[in-house]
Every structure is written in structure tokens, then in C-alpha cells.
């Protein structure tokens, strides 16, 4: 076995153990929440005019997927299903497979968050380099201030501002939804265009929210690298500015790389505020709704996805780090 394969196997094993620990913790945590599946629906049936007896009978029927086994038995059953790749059945949606619900919501989280992440990373890193190199100039200062300002704005404020300007005032972009529902889903230019158009505001929101963080982190990292001896040496040796910039960029971006990799994992959690503001229902909303109605299998499934994504991103970051930074391999 090569060193890389050994490292990979070790990390995968550790990752599996971590997934098991988190799965166990979240399973018991979600079941410890007060209230049970059907409580909210019972009240909803009462409000719709059902008598308590009717409402109870209806809840018993449509919430038949709520397990009444002892919790330990449920846990072992859940683990057994997980090993077979089965996330279970939703109680709120009366037996719809959890994997089906998650896969229906997943694209509408991954598309805007991933796009926002990539855009903000690219712009933030470039702006961070400029802000560091030109830190004594007015432009450098302005860039730094822009990063600090945007990083400090709460997500829902930013999203509402964008909505106000680009939809309510200027009528440039749609306010809600993921596409024009009258268009047949597919790869037609009209449908893809509609998806892009509807994604613009959520993507810009996600991008702006993380832009400041990348900019400030990159600026700080570049400033640190600029003070390193090897940069001074490269200047004294008369290396071309482009070559020096490459040295600076490669060294400064290393700490950001780990954060970027982890961000790919965290993105599966979505952002409820942005999803709600733009009525762009993704995993964030599915998870929050499942908590509200105590849909344990969906909650556990969503938490599992987030956990696995973060752990996988962590492993990938670790492994890639050894590739991009030779010092780590020594």
C-alpha cells in the first residue's frame, strides 16, 4: 500500500467513525425534541373543522409511519437501513422516501450556494490580493472597507435589499421561485435561461455574504506572506513581478483552500433566510419544516447529508492540501 493510499484509508475510516458518532448523536437529539409527529397536524385538522375524534383518527392514519418501537430499537433499525442506503420514510409526508424529498430539494440549494461560493471566492481572493498589495492606497482601503461592510450585513437584510432594488423598484429580476413554472423542465434555452434568471438574486446574495470573508482573509494572508524573507529575497534577486506575484498567491491562498473545501460541505445546510426571502425552497427550508413538524426521518436524513458532506470535504481538503503544499508531505 502506498503512503497516499494508507493516508486515504485512515482518513476514510476516521470519517466513518465520525459519521457514526454524529448520526447517533443527531438521532437521539431529534427524538429528544418536545412534541411528536402529528401534534401540529392534529391542530391543523381541528382548525379545518375536524372533531377531536376525527382529527385523532386522521392523524393515526396519515401518521402511521411514526414508529412506536422503543427508541433503541428504532435506532438499531435506522442504522440497519442506513447500511443498506435507505434513509427511511417521512412521517409528515406519509411514507414518501426521505431520499426522494432530499433529492428534490438538493439541486435548489447546491445551484445557488455553489455558484455563490465560487463567484465570491474568485472575486474575494482577487480583491484581497489587490487590497493587500495596494493597502497604502485609497483603492486598497476602499476594498477593505467594502469587505468589512458586506461581511457585517445579516443575510436577510442583504436579501431584502436586493429584492427591493432589483425586483420591486427596477423590475429587473424575479422575486420568487426557481423557474417559470409554465416552461417544460429540460435543457431548452428558455427553461435554462429562466432557471439562471431566477437564481441571480439568491446567487448574488450568497456571493455577497461570503465575499467579505474571502477578501479579508486573503488580504491578511497576502500581507503576512509579503513580509516573509523569501519575498524579500526574490525582490533582491530581481525576479519579475509576475513571478513574485505567483509565489505570493500560491503561499497566501493555502489557508483559504481549507476554508473553501469546508465551505463546500457546509453549503448543503443551505440558508433558510435566503431561501425564504426569494422563495427558493431548498434543503434549508426542508430541514426547518421537518423540525417544525417533528419529521424525525427527514431531520435525521438532512443532518446526515450535511455531516457526510462536511466530513467528506474535510478529507478531500486534507488530501489535496498534501498535494498543493509539499511541506505537509515531509
Amino acid at each position: 500500500m502506498t503512503g497516499f493510499a494508507r493516508r486515504l484509508a485512515g482518513k476514510l475510516l476516521a470519517g466513518l467513525v465520525m459519521v457514526w458518532v454524529v448520526v447517533t448523536f443527531t438521532f437521539f437529539l431529534v427524538h429528544a425534541l418536545p412534541g411528536k409527529p402529528g401534534d401540529v397536524q392534529y391542530e391543523s385538522y381541528i382548525m379545518q373543522g375536524f372533531s377531536p375524534e376525527e382529527a385523532r383518527a386522521k392523524v393515526a392514519a396519515v401518521y402511521g409511519f411514526t414508529s412506536h418501537d422503543p427508541l433503541l430499537g428504532q435506532y438499531l433499525g435506522y442504522l440497519g437501513k442506513l447500511l443498506r442506503g435507505d434513509l427511511g420514510e417521512s412521517t409528515y409526508y406519509s411514507g414518501v422516501p426521505v431520499s426522494h424529498l432530499i433529492s428534490s430539494a438538493l439541486p435548489w440549494t447546491v445551484l445557488p450556494v455553489l455558484s455563490g461560493l465560487v463567484v465570491s471566492f474568485l472575486i474575494g481572493v482577487v480583491a484581497g490580493v489587490v487590497a493587500a498589495v495596494k493597502r497604502s492606497s485609497r483603492w486598497g482601503g476602499l476594498l477593505s472597507v467594502s469587505g468589512s461592510l458586506v461581511a457585517g450585513v445579516p443575510s436577510f437584510v442583504l436579501a431584502l435589499l436586493l429584492l427591493l432594488v432589483f425586483h420591486t423598484e427596477w423590475h429587473l429580476l424575479p422575486d420568487a421561485g426557481t423557474s417559470d413554472i409554465t416552461l417544460e423542465p429540460g435543457w431548452s434555452p428558455a427553461y435554462v435561461g429562466s432557471v439562471v434568471q431566477h437564481a441571480v438574486l439568491p446567487v448574488v446574495s450568497y456571493a455577497l455574504l461570503s465575499y467579505g470573508g474571502w477578501l479579508l482573509a486573503m488580504k491578511s494572508s497576502v500581507v503576512t506572506v509579503l513580509g516573509d524573507d523569501f519575498i524579500l529575497a526574490s525582490e533582491l534577486r530581481g525576479l519579475a513581478p509576475v513571478t513574485r506575484a505567483r509565489y505570493i498567491g500560491r503561499n497566501a491562498i493555502l489557508p483559504l483552500f481549507t476554508v473553501l473545501a469546508l465551505s463546500f460541505g457546509v453549503m448543503f445546510a443551505g440558508s433558510f433566510f435566503i431561501e425564504q426571502t426569494f422563495d427558493y425552497p431548498g434543503l434549508g427550508e426542508l430541514l426547518l419544516k421537518s423540525i417544525g413538524v417533528r419529521d424525525y426521518p427527514v431531520m435525521a436524513g438532512a443532518f446526515l447529508l450535511i455531516t457526510v458532506a462536511i466530513i467528506a470535504a474535510n478529507i478531500v481538503a486534507d488530501l489535496c492540501y498534501t498535494l498543493i503544499d509539499p511541506r505537509v508531505r515531509r
Binding site: 418536545p34 412534541g35 411528536k36 401534534d39 401540529v40 397536524q41 392534529y42 391542530e43 391543523s44 381541528i46 382548525m47 379545518q48 373543522g49 372533531s51 377531536p52 375524534e53 376525527e54 385523532r56 383518527a57 386522521k58 393515526a60 392514519a61 396519515v62 401518521y63 402511521g64 409511519f65 420514510e89 409528515y92 409526508y93 406519509s94 414518501v96 426522494h100 428534490s104 430539494a105 429584492l163 425586483h167 420591486t168 423590475h171 429587473l172 424575479p174 422575486d175 420568487a176 421561485g177 426557481t178 417559470d180 413554472i181 409554465t182 416552461l183 434555452p189 428558455a190 435561461g193 439562471v196 434568471q197 441571480v200 422563495d279 427558493y280 425552497p281 431548498g282 423540525i291 417544525g292
Partner: protein
Amino acid sequence: MSRHRTLVAGLAAAVALTALTACSSSTKKTNDGGSGAKKDGGVYTSIDANNQITAGAPMNPFNAAPNSFLGYNQMRLGFDKFNPSDPNDLFPGLAASWTASDAGLTVQLQPNAKWSDGTPVTVADIKTSLAIAYTQGTAGPVAGAGSTIVLGTNFEVSDIKDLGGGKIEIDQVPGAKNLYFQRLVLSATIVNDKVYSGLLPADIWTLIGAVQGSDQAAAKTASDKLTALGKTIAAFAPAKDVSAGPFVLTRVGPGEALLDRNQYFFAVDKIAPKQVILRHYTGNQQIWGFMTNGELDSSPYTSMPTNILDQILKAGYTRTDAPSYVSASIAFNEKQAPYDKTPVRQALAHIIDRDAVTKVGEPVGGIPAPYTTGLIGSQTDAFLSDDQKAALNAYKPDAAKAASLLQGAGFTKDGSGQWHLPDGSPWTITLQTVNGFSDWIAASTIVANELTAFGIKTTPAITADFATYQKEMAAGKYAVGWWLTALGPQTDKAYNRIYGTADGFSIVNGKAVHSDTSAVNWQHTPATYTVNGQTIDPGQLTADLSVTPVADQKPIIAQLAAATNQELPMIQIWNYTKVGFYTEKHFTNFPKSGADALLLNQPGVWMMQGFVQAK
């Protein structure tokens, strides 16, 4: 590839994307339905208040959270008019007419009733649908219900006969006396036999017969089988929508559902919109936003402050009002002192200024409750005589009266104005409300201010979500908290809310049984009250209401209203009004205020009755 080329390629991709975006649909969702659509009435956009839409949920009305929309692609034989004086009053749906008899009901189907695949609606569809009702807890004594069935709540069918010519006889189980059999049967969801019958065993009616039989062991076995079937049916995900309604579901996206007009609908000439878009929403704010941007043709009830109301009216919407048969109340746990004392609850009712609280809590959709009787104001007016109403205590704000009641109960007031319990300790109140109920939360602040100003230090507290609220309320953790009451329009249901399980009453063979130790009893009121010198049993009176025709209910309601008004198991603060909105930008002839029966139904039902026409 050189860096220069990479840059050019990137720019080209960006330009292409921009062009693609420009070619796509308009930025602002309009209801024009594209060129030429206006002739067909265009697209009608609304929100289904009972269905937020979830991509991935099945197109199956029996699922707990389905992508199936009542009045649009989900049909019934008739649609409830919510008429408090005649609970069996319905709009025609798939049934053109019906006649009630001692045996049950004879229904005449609409002559041209067809499914969206062009096949006719038949007796087999009705039979399958009513059989499914037995698996879904809406018909018969379903296993797992955990309680005795009260006559008047579930329907029991013994036979369904095809009389020919679209006429069907639906027989009630011999011996069953259900006052609402007609309404319950006509309100059952009707689905396509070809789509759903495969989920039912061939002996389904034998199972139903066994459930209704006297052999308890056989009934239990049959009930278990029906319950298991119920799970299968609820989880069923049809590949395609087959609708007998005015619309058929074409697709569901994460943010919207699209329904196309059903060309085979029996009254398709009345249906103006070519398509319906139902928008997804997560809260009131989104609905407000849709309306201020003029994006909805009509909206369901949405709680809102007055500034939002003004914005919506400014955007061109017309407001409609209909009775809501729900009241926001402050309820007590009488197991916790001092709320076990009637004068204490009465004193609190005199301190709380319901007008002032409503102005803040529910300024648009609330009417200060004129009485606390367990019913909304208009029902109290309808069921009680002028003399009976005059005898009710209106609990007008009256600090002196409140002080007198409290002093009579042994309470004292110190020099700083703080009231003390009879044991001498300071009296403080935690007024519990729940996250998401913005009207209750706002109102709690005013109630707390009023009580604190009177000398009872009151703090509002918010529970994280409704599931927790119910759990903790049932566990007796809250002494004083908000509660929805007067759930009508049926008076027995309104009183069942107060003198039902939450109050320790259950009905066994028509007799009320009271248990102070029941797990769901959180109000802990006594089993009987003494009113005007007479002992009354509110649980039994409530049970009697469910088997008493509306025309004969007045004497029972008079006793329950007087008892509730005197004993105040809760204080009714405001009665809700179902405030809706419509705009005539794209369609006209909407039901107006006063058309209560229509306004309490979905727009699909309006359309079936000839409302909502293209401009």
C-alpha cells in the same frame, strides 16, 4: 490554452448566459399567459393556504402534505357552505343534486362528469373513494383512533347502489344516527377508481362490514388491515394526475404548482382561467410581498398589520370579509392557583381591554370578542335570545370591579400597587404564547402592560414552536396561555374545544366521562358547574349537542354559553375574520363580502359556481 484565450472564453460564456437570460421569461411574473392567452382567460395566480407545496410530495390527496389542491384538481361530491344554521348545506360538486332519506342519501352525479383522461366519473369511483375514507380515519371506527366514535363525527356506509343514469344510493349503517351523514359523505374526497382501486383488496367492503359488525375480534382484525391499507394509500405516488376537477395538475416545481384547465370538466364553459399557478410560501410576509407586487389574483386569509393592509389596498386589491369561526383566547390551567378561583379569572377579564389588545394583536382580521360564550359573536347572536344575551357579563374594562373581585377572593394590594396572593406572596403571571403566531405575540405585550399597570407583574413568554407548545401545555407547564377556541361553525365542535379532551371529557356511548388525570387534560376545570342555581355538566351538554339537530340546539347552547360566560375557562379576546383579497387586473366577477359560503371556499369552487370571469 493561453490565459488570454481563457479570458475570452470566460467572457463569451458570460455573454451567452446573459443572452439566454434575456431570452427567457419576463422578469416580473404576469398573468397574461402569453400572447393570445387572454382570450382563454390567461393564468390565475393564487395561494393554497392549506398547502405550501413541496417538490417531491405525491399528487395524492390522501397524503398528509400532498400536491393536491382542493377545488382545483381535488374534487368532492359537494363543497361545504359552512352554514351554522344548516350543517348539511353544500355547493354542488361532482354531485348535481342529492336527497337525504332515513336510509342515507341518493346522489345524482353531474351529467357530464368526466376525468381529465376523458373517461366518465362512475359509481365505481365513488365506491372506491368511500372505501378509502375508511382507511384514512374519516369514515367508520378506524383502528388506532384510540377513542370511541361519537355519532355525528364519522360517517358509516353500509352499501352503495348504482340506480342507473348517474344516480347512486349511499346507505348509512342501520341504527346509526348521524346528523351530518349528508355533509360528511358529500365532503369525502373522490378519486379515480382506475388509479386507486389497485391499492385496495377485492374484499375491502367485507373488511368494512367486519369493522361495523358485533364480533369484536373480527372487527379488530379488519381494523388493523384497514390501518395498514391506509399507510399504503397515503404513501402512494401516482405518476400522473387524473382529475375530475376544473383543473389538472401539470407539474410541481419547488416554488409553484401549475394546473391546466381540464377540458373534460363537466362545467368547463364556466372556467375562465386557462391555467392556475399556485405559489409556494413559507409565511405571511411572502404573501404580503406577492400582493404588494400585484402578483396574486386572489389571496387566502393572511394575518397582517394595518400598514401592510394599506400597501395591499394601494396595490389595487379589494378586501373581502367572511366569518372565520375561530376566536383567540387566553386560557387557564385551573390546577394551578390562583386560576382555580372563578373570581380571579373574572377579575382578569375585567382588567384586559379587549378593544385595545385587538387593535395591536389583530387590527385587520380581528373583531374584539363581545362575549365570552365559547362561540364567536355572530353565533352567540344567532343562538341566544336578547334576554339571554342581556344576562351575559360583557366583562367591560373595570379596574374597580376587578379589585373588588380580587379582594373578595382574599387578595391584597400593597403600597406600591402590587397585588399579593392570599398567602401573601406577590402575584406574577407568565403569559405563554408561541413562536410564529405574530398576533398573539403582539397582543401579549399589551395584555402584559395592562396587567402590570394594574399591579400584577406579567411577562410574556414565547415557546419555540407549536409542537412544543402543545406538548408543554398538555403537561401542565403553563398556567396562562393563548388558545384558539370557538372552532365552528358547528356548535358541538366549538364546545368540544373547551369541554372536550383538553378539559378531561371524553364521550363513551354517548355519555360524557370526566377524568381530571387524563394525559391531555390541561385546563382541569371541574366536571360540573352551578349556573343560576342549577348544576350542569358541560361535557354531557357538549356530547348532546353533537346528536341534536341545529334547530333544537338553542336550549343546550343557552346553558353552555351562560356557564362559559360565568366560569371563564378562557377569556375570548378577539374573533377572527377571514380577510381575503382579490384584484380585477386580469379577471372579474369575484365573490364579494357577504358571500360567506363562497369566500370560505377555494377559488376553484368559486369558478365552478360561475364566478371569476375573464376581463
